[in-house]
């Protein structure tokens, strides 16, 4: 008997591909022989755009690189400028930024849990996750003025002093019980287990060769968290979540545990902020801001892996070149390896477990 191979386009408008991603699959029966990710449907030219904009004009736009975790990218651009002009952040600014970054991480992970479960066919967790995420977004809106495009960090500090801390306190006390609820519905559910346990196994060697970072790497048993060596997180006590299962289930569990760890960091920052004095920061005048000639780079542990920004300045008020490294780009590439030999009906479950956000991939 002869078998013919079938080429199948998954996407770009498949409802389960987050954003617009086209996967060109080669099938033998239902088995995937090879997978070719095709990206670029959401390309907005974020890097090229920076070359004709001043730093202060570019700052509101970086929130849009990853619209689920906008704070991380504005933090990166602020870091570049602060590093170039040797600005040291006051402790209160550090605490504010850490608190907001971790809340942003939680909101991003919550949306991922909802979307991932939706990929697997479970609808209710999506609504529950959105309900909790809404509390965080409402707080962001109160503080910064908008729900997703915050534009709150400025070079050398934050736009205004932190406020509405009682809301954060409520979120910190309320979320753990809701997470228990999610875990009751999801973690031990036999249907969920059959679709995730042992599926999409990511070996540490493969993860290294594909430059995977973040929760995906830590779910493969590698203790690598950039936050541990980040100056922003100095003085905060937390431990990276490392799991040894290597499969889709581990990636889910790692993110749930990461939310709990983030809540721990937030409560530490909250304790500090409640006792802290009024905000005193040294802001720079951004109107004629010019970075000294040279190369600058900064890294941060974003929800989807290590995010980096590289700026080459020629002493003008606009960057000469600006590049972003985003975690999702590498996760998409990993699908080539991870989908090989799996069945078609697991393809979406595995792709979903990697937490891919397409605007971040295409930039």
């Amino acid at each position: 008997m002869t078998t013919t191979r079938l080429k199948l386009n998954l996407g770009p408008q498949h409802p389960s591909t987050h954003g617009v991603l086209r996967l060109l699959l080669e099938l033998e029966g239902e088995k995937i022989i090879s997978c070719e990710p095709d990206i670029g449907y959401l390309h907005r030219g974020m890097e090229k755009m920076a070359e004709k904009m001043t730093y202060i004009q570019y700052l509101p736009l970086v929130d849009r690189i990853d619209y689920l975790a906008g704070f991380f990218y504005s933090e990166l651009l602020c870091r570049i400028v602060e590093q170039a002009l040797c600005i040291e952040l006051p402790d209160k600014v550090r605490a504010i930024r850490v608190m907001l970054l971790e809340m942003n991480r939680i909101s991003s992970h919550l949306l991922w849990i909802g979307a991932f479960l939706m990929d697997l066919g479970a609808v209710s967790p999506f609504f529950y996750a959105f309900r909790e995420r809404e509390m965080i977004l409402r707080y962001f809106e109160k503080l910064t003025g908008q729900r997703m495009m915050y534009n709150y960090f400025v070079f050398g500090g934050v736009r205004k002093d932190i406020d509405y801390l009682e809301d954060v306190e409520y979120i910190v006390s309320y979320l753990p019980q809701k997470l228990d609820e999610y875990e009751k519905i999801i973690t031990e559910n036999p249907i969920f287990l059959r679709r995730t346990e042992g599926k999409g196994i990511l070996e540490p060697d493969t993860a290294y060769s594909f430059a995977i970072t973040g929760a995906n790497l830590r779910a493969s048993g590698i203790d690598d968290d950039y936050r541990k060596s980040d100056y922003l997180y100095k003085g905060f006590d937390f431990k990276p979540i490392v799991l040894d299962n290597k499969d889709s289930w581990a990636r889910y569990k790692a993110r749930v545990l990461e939310i709990r760890e983030s809540l721990n960091i937030i409560s530490q920052a909250l304790d500090y902020l409640k006792k802290a004095d009024k905000l005193e920061q040294r802001l720079i005048n951004p109107i004629n801001l010019k970075l000294p000639q040279g190369d600058y780079s900064a890294e941060i542990e974003a929800p989807r892996g290590l995010a980096c920004c590289f700026v080459r300045s020629d002493g003008q008020e606009k960057p000469y070149r600006l590049k972003w490294r985003t975690g999702s780009y590498y996760s998409v590439n990993l699908l080539r390896e991870l989908l090989k030999g799996e069945y078609l009906n697991d393809a979406i479950a595995i792709a979903g477990s990697l937490d891919i956000i397409l605007p971040e991939v295409d930039k």
Binding site: L61, T144, G145, K184, I185, E188
Partner: protein
């Protein structure tokens, strides 16, 4: 095997019970056109200009080129024009305005049938 089956059944039961309880909870959403959310003062909606001195900083910090100014025949007074079709409501202009002349209001329903309705004209400023 039997143990696994019992464990699975228990997990399913617990999950279904958690979902079941939600049937008796109050809705968390608002029925939008009839009921509207009360927005915070910090909300960044349609900008409003009042008391501008014509320094031009807002044009310089605007990322999307939504702000333009032009001189009148005498070359003295600036006409500021906010193009809300281009505006991304980032709030840079309001934040960097030295006279706090620009304010972001809570108005967010900006759809209109006339494109001129999305242009904010402000005549004023000193330029001596």
């Amino acid at each position: 095997m039997a143990l696994k089956l019992i464990k699975s059944a228990k997990a399913l039961y617990e999950g279904l019970m958690t979902v079941f309880v939600h049937l008796f909870r109050k809705p968390v959403t608002l029925e939008y056109p009839e009921k509207r959310r009360i927005l915070n003062d910090a909300f960044r909606g349609k900008p409003e200009v009042n008391g501008c001195v014509g320094c031009g900083i807002c044009k310089k910090v605007c990322p999307s080129g939504a702000i333009n100014y032009k001189k009148d025949e005498n070359g003295k007074v600036y006409f500021y024009e906010f193009d809300l079709k281009k505006c991304i409501f980032c709030g840079n202009c309001a934040y960097y305005c030295p006279k706090a002349a620009i304010k972001m209001t809570g108005e967010y329903e900006l759809a209109c049938d006339n494109p001129q309705g999305l242009k904010l004209d402000y005549k004023g400023g000193i330029n001596d």
